[in-house]
Every structure is written in structure tokens, then in C-alpha cells.
């Protein structure tokens, strides 16, 4: 039994989530409170399998798994290499922590609809894991659609405006997926294969054809929409803002990152490094768009008054970092991008969980309504927020610093051949500053103001005021089920920061595709 399961370990995670997506509505039909434990069980198991997979890959190298025992290109294959094992571990870990947090807040925001909601999350994770591990272009499309459809539902189950946001995302997402499908069609007609490795082997012989160029353009365009690369990010802010807290906390760190991962796969593992950098320098385009997106997202984030909306615009900027790392197309840039997938997943999930805590206790997450009393009411939540915010700004030894450091190294390396890359270094530095501006805006509201010195209180007598404060402000922290995941993420940021050398040397260093210098 154990040998059977270890032999099939690459395929187990998508199947696990698929099975739970099917079973949860059946089992929890009348018993709403069974849904959460079932989902936790699935998520915990998936983390265990993901850890096992990472060790398996580190030990044995890439593992190929053939569906139905048909060798590619006849059948579908799953490729478990360093990159996919790493990204899967990130997704499942984040999902586990967010789901732990979901116990109290989901019944509050979605009364009596927990079973289908958790089933949709399970299917979303099935889709995301399937996308990450597959080695087949069409299979990727199918799993992309599974994840997209559940995303629309997860977003639309939020507050009143959420269906409008979800509808806009649906239109954009369908265009994206269809462009990707069209690109796959062009590739299939010109190469005759759907397997990624096979297509990569065939492409050099037909690299100059216009069809291949358009296929590349369509696939990049489609994934650009999905990952919210700068001019295509229109759907993102509304979707993240109006979704339920748990949905945004699970979507923001995973869904857009997986689209970025697909972009990386398509560029370097299907079309090949020399094709996308020399024959058709599309990486330059991605790099510039990402740089504009970083600045634009940061500036827009400063202008927002709703915390979740601010975080959404900051996501546009942070996806820009990943795009920049991919666009640099050198090892340092790629390491930075992949490390940033991990770091940003932890940071953004932590921040969205904090927003969820605010909504749970205060009933809103409006930045302007935040008061200094919160630092007394929710000290641990604010500590986690501070850690994540400092990490976003890029203060060592927190995790956010190191991915920016690798990206900066990448730009410097790229600048030795092309002086325009200095601009990207400037962009990284400036954006850190902008990050500092929009996070310190919140931190200033909470920490910097001396307690109880509100303008309207000035003419009240001093003693009376003191008395009132001591009575009024007592700890009103969220419960353990919500606090623990938030704190784990905050501590995780420090741990990742300290262990980054091990992570990079152990896993990420192996992902550099052939031909990249």
C-alpha cells in the first residue's frame, strides 16, 4: 500500500482535492459544520504529500508520471521537477494556513453555505496543483478552467458588489484562457504535439514561422491577463476587494502566482530561452510592462482608503516583481522571481488574514477608520501586520528583502550587456520606498499617535480622560484559530529570511533552464 502511494505521489495532490471537492457536499449536505474539518484533513494531507514530493525530487531528480501508462506524446505526463515541487509546496502550505484561519470567519460571512464554499476551495486547489505539475499543454488549459471557474464562485460569494467584480473577471479570464487555447492550437498544428518537452524539441526547426510567433504572443497575453501584468490588471482590484476575506486570502497568494508560473513554464520550458530572448525578444516587453506595473501598482496603493483594495493594488506591483524576474531571463532574476513567489505568498496571505481579523472584530477594514486603540485591542494581529509590512518594504532579515536582493543582482548582471537595465534597479529601489509610504500610512495611524490625544478630547479634563481610556481599551484579540495562522505566517517570514540561502541552494538553484546564462 505504502509503495503504491509513494510510487504515485505526483498525482496524489490534485486527486486528493478533487475527491474532497466531490465528497464534501455529499457528506456535509445537512451538517454544515463537518465541512471545515474535512477540508482541513485534505489540506493537511496535501502539505504532507507536497513535503514528501520535495524530498523525493531533491533525492532523485525530476520524476515523470505517465497517466494511464501511456508514454508522452501519446498520453499525458506529470512532471515533478524542482520548480513544480517547490511551487506546489508553497500553494498547499499557504492554503493550509488560510483554511485554519477560515474556521470562524467563513460562517460569519457565508451563513449556511460552508459545504459548497469549501468544496469550491478544494476544487480551486485541485486546479492550481494540476496546472503546476502537468507537462501537457492542453491538460494545463483544462485545469486552468477548473481553477478559474471556482475562482469566479469564490469571488462572487462575497459582499453585494462581488458578482459584478466576478463577472468582469469571468469575461477577462475567458478571453485569457481562450487566447491560451488558441496559442496551443497554433502550436499543435505546426508541431503536431501537445507535450511540453516534445514541443520544445520540435520548435527550433520551425522557429521563424509567423504562426509560432503569434502562438507565443497569444499565450503570453493570456497568462498576462491571468497574472494581472500591468495593462491587463483591470479585473484584479475589484475582485480582491469584494471577495470574502478567506477567498481573497487564498486567491491573492496562489492564483496570480500560478499564472506567473505558467508564463515561466511556457517561456523557458516550451519555447526555450534563446527563442524568447534572441529570436523574439518578448522578455524585454514583459520586463518593461512589469516595471511600469510595479510603479503604477505602488502609486495606486497609496491612493486607496480600503485596506483590502490597497493590498490588491500592491499585488499588481508585487506580480510585477515576478514578471521582472522572468523578463530578465538570467539565473539571478529567475531565482529572485521564484523566491518572490514564496515570499509574496507568505506576505500577502498574512496581510489579507490581518484584514480578515479586522473585519471579524471591527466589522470593516477601512484605513481611515483605524484608530490607535487597535494596538491595545489587537496587539498580536498588529505585530503580524508590522512584520509583513516591513517584509514588503524589504527590510532584512525579513523574507521580502532577499527576493528583491536577487532581483537587483539580476538587473546588475543584465546591465553589463544592456545599460537600460539600470532603470529596473532604480524601479526596484523606488518601489521599496513607495511600499514604505503606503504601509507606514497604516502603521502611523496605529502606532505613532500618542494614545487618546484626539482633537475633540482636548478640552475634556485630563483625569477624566485617563480614566475613560483605562476602562475602554482592553484586549479584544481574535481567537486562537485565527491568531495562530496569522502569527505562523509572520514568524515564517523571519524564518524564510534566515533560511533563504538553504532554500535557494537546495531547490531553486536547480530550476535554471538549459541555455540560460
Amino acid at each position: 500500500m505504502i509503495t503504491i502511494l509513494t510510487k504515485n505521489s505526483p498525482v496524489l495532490i490534485p486527486l486528493l482535492f478533487l475527491a474532497f471537492g466531490l465528497i464534501i457536499p455529499l457528506v456535509a449536505w445537512k451538517r454544515n459544520n463537518w465541512a471545515w474539518p474535512a477540508m482541513m484533513l485534505a489540506s493537511l494531507t496535501s502539505v504532507a504529500i507536497a513535503v514528501f514530493n520535495v524530498f523525493k525530487v531533491m533525492e532523485k531528480g525530476p520524476v515523470h508520471y505517465y497517466m494511464g501508462n501511456w508514454m508522452p506524446p501519446i498520453g499525458i505526463e506529470y512532471v515533478l521537477d524542482h520548480l513544480s515541487a517547490f511551487v506546489m509546496l508553497v500553494i498547499n502550505l499557504i492554503a493550509f494556513l488560510v483554511l485554519m484561519h477560515a474556521k470562524k470567519i467563513v460562517p460569519l460571512e457565508l451563513t449556511r453555505r460552508e459545504p459548497p464554499y469549501y468544496a469550491a476551495i478544494s476544487l480551486l486547489l485541485c486546479g492550481l496543483n494540476g496546472i503546476v505539475i502537468t507537462g501537457d499543454l492542453f491538460n494545463l488549459y483544462v485545469f486552468l478552467e477548473i481553477s478559474s471557474l471556482s475562482l469566479y464562485g469564490l469571488i462572487a460569494s462575497g459582499e453585494k458588489k462581488s458578482p459584478v467584480a466576478a463577472f468582469r473577471y469571468l469575461i477577462m479570464g475567458t478571453i485569457a484562457a481562450s487566447f491560451y487555447l488558441l496559442g496551443v492550437g497554433f502550436l499543435y498544428i505546426t508541431t503536431g504535439s501537445l507535450n511540453m518537452a516534445d514541443v520544445k524539441a520540435i520548435l527550433p526547426s520551425i522557429a521563424g514561422q509567423p504562426t509560432v510567433l503569434i502562438a507565443l504572443a497569444l499565450m503570453v497575453l493570456g497568462m498576462g491577463i491571468k497574472m494581472a501584468l500591468f495593462p491587463l490588471h483591470g479585473w484584479l482590484p475589484d475582485a480582491y476587494t469584494y471577495a470574502p476575506s478567506t477567498s481573497s486570502a487564498i486567491i491573492a497568494p496562489t492564483a496570480a502566482k500560478v499564472a506567473a508560473y505558467v508564463l515561466l513554464r511556457v517561456l523557458f520550458f516550451v519555447f526555450g530561452v534563446s527563442f524568447v530572448t534572441k529570436t523574439v525578444p518578448i522578455t524585454n516587453v514583459i520586463m518593461w510592462l512589469a516595471a511600469i506595473g510595479i510603479i503604477y501598482g505602488s502609486i495606486m496603493a497609496i491612493a486607496q482608503k480600503e485596506l483590502k483594495r490597497m493590498l490588491a493594488y500592491s499585488s499588481v506591483a508585487q506580480v510585477g516583481y515576478i514578471g521582472l524576474g522572468i523578463g530578465l531571463a538570467n539565473p539571478w532574476g529567475l531565482i529572485g522571481a521564484v523566491l518572490h513567489v514564496l515570499n509574496h505568498a507568505f506576505m500577502k496571505a498574512c496581510l489579507f488574514l490581518v484584514a480578515g481579523n479586522f473585519r471579524f472584530k471591527l466589522g470593516h477594514s477601512n484605513i481611515f477608520k483605524l484608530e490607535d486603540s487597535i494596538r491595545k485591542k489587537m496587539p498580536w494581529t498588529m505585530a503580524a501586520f508590522t512584520a509583513a509590512a516591513l517584509s514588503m518594504v524589504g527590510l532584512p532579515p525579513l523574507a521580502g528583502f532577499f527576493s528583491k536582493w536577487y532581483l537587483a543582482l539580476g538587473t546588475i548582471k543584465s546591465a553589463s550587456t544592456n545599460w537600460t537595465s539600470w532603470i529596473f534597479l532604480v524601479v526596484i529601489l523606488v518601489s521599496s520606498l513607495l511600499n514604505a509610504v503606503y504601509f507606514f500610512r497604516v502603521l502611523e495611524k496605529v502606532y505613532m499617535k500618542p494614545m487618546g490625544k484626539k482633537p475633540k478630547d482636548v478640552h475634556e479634563s485630563h483625569e477624566k480622560h485617563e480614566k475613560e481610556e483605562t476602562i475602554e481599551i482592553k484586549s479584544n484579540e481574535v481567537g486562537a484559530s485565527m491568531l495562530i495562522p496569522t502569527l505562523i505566517m509572520a514568524i515564517g517570514l523571519i524564518v524564510i529570511g534566515l533560511l533563504n540561502a538553504i532554500i535557494v541552494k537546495g531547490i531553486i538553484a536547480f530550476i535554471i533552464p538549459a541555455g540560460m546564462k
Binding site: N8, V11, L15, L26, Y66, M67, G68, K160
Partner: protein
């Protein structure tokens, strides 16, 4: 379909035709090995037969034929049949969806044929159940 339409011809004809559509749908599913057809096409026709009665004779009569609450469980069962076939193959030592290892006979190619049939039945049930469920939810939905 809140307003009941009292045209007896439409109602009677649709009720009379519906079983035959279902019969043909079953033929399409089970004959998918030898002619154009298969689980998805047959499942859509099964759903069409149910929806025809729902459209022509109204919701109450349609409920007698196929209850709204059956849709999602049936769909779930259909996908589980597919999933279960693949997973049994995995547990019996093959890769996922390798019907070869299923205990259905000795000739591997024939076993694969049987595996395909099982899977197609799952597809047909899933598509039928879920298409009807989507229609019912769209019709009766009462959002927040």
C-alpha cells in the same frame, strides 16, 4: 416557468417523447464504441429529455420525473464513478487511469474497452445531473 401553460398537446407530446429521447441517449452512450457518440453526447441528450418536460409541462410535472435535489448528487456520483475507476486502477498497482489493471478479464485490450465503457457511463450521469442542476438553480435561484 412560474406561469403554467395549459396547452395539452405540447404537454402530452413532450411527456410522450421524453422516454424515447432517453432511450436514444442510452443508445448513444453504450454505442459510443462503434459509432459517433459517447458519454458527453448521451448525457446531454438525457438532460435534454428531462428539461423538455420541465419546459413544456411546467416545474411540478418535471419534479415527478427528476427532482431538483437529485441533480448535484447524481453529478457527484458520475464524477466519482470516473474517479473511482481511475483510482481503483491506481490501487491495483497501475498508474492512475490505467484500466489495464482492472479485474475485468484477461485480454488487456478488452479490459481497456470495458474501462472505457465504465468511464463513459460516469461521464453521461455527471453531465446529465449537472446540466439539470444548473438549469434548476438558474431558474429557482434566490440570491442574497
Amino acid at each position: 416557468m412560474t406561469k403554467k401553460d395549459n396547452n395539452p398537446i405540447v404537454s402530452l407530446v413532450s411527456r410522450a417523447v421524453s422516454p424515447f429521447i432517453m432511450l436514444y441517449a442510452l443508445y448513444v452512450i453504450f454505442h459510443g464504441h462503434y459509432s459517433p457518440g459517447g458519454g458527453f453526447q448521451g448525457g446531454t441528450m438525457l438532460a435534454a429529455a428531462v428539461l423538455l418536460v420541465r419546459l413544456a409541462a411546467g416545474g411540478e410535472l418535471g419534479q415527478l420525473q427528476f427532482k431538483t435535489s437529485w441533480g448535484m448528487p447524481l453529478g457527484s456520483m458520475g464524477v466519482l464513478i470516473y474517479f473511482g475507476t481511475g483510482f481503483t486502477a491506481l490501487l491495483l498497482g497501475g498508474n492512475f487511469l490505467n484500466y489495464h489493471t482492472l479485474p475485468l478479464g484477461s485480454d488487456p485490450a478488452a479490459v481497456r474497452g470495458w474501462g472505457i465503457l465504465l468511464v463513459e457511463i460516469g461521464v453521461g450521469l455527471a453531465v446529465m445531473g449537472i446540466l439539470v442542476a444548473i438549469y434548476d438553480h438558474l431558474l429557482e435561484g434566490d440570491p442574497l
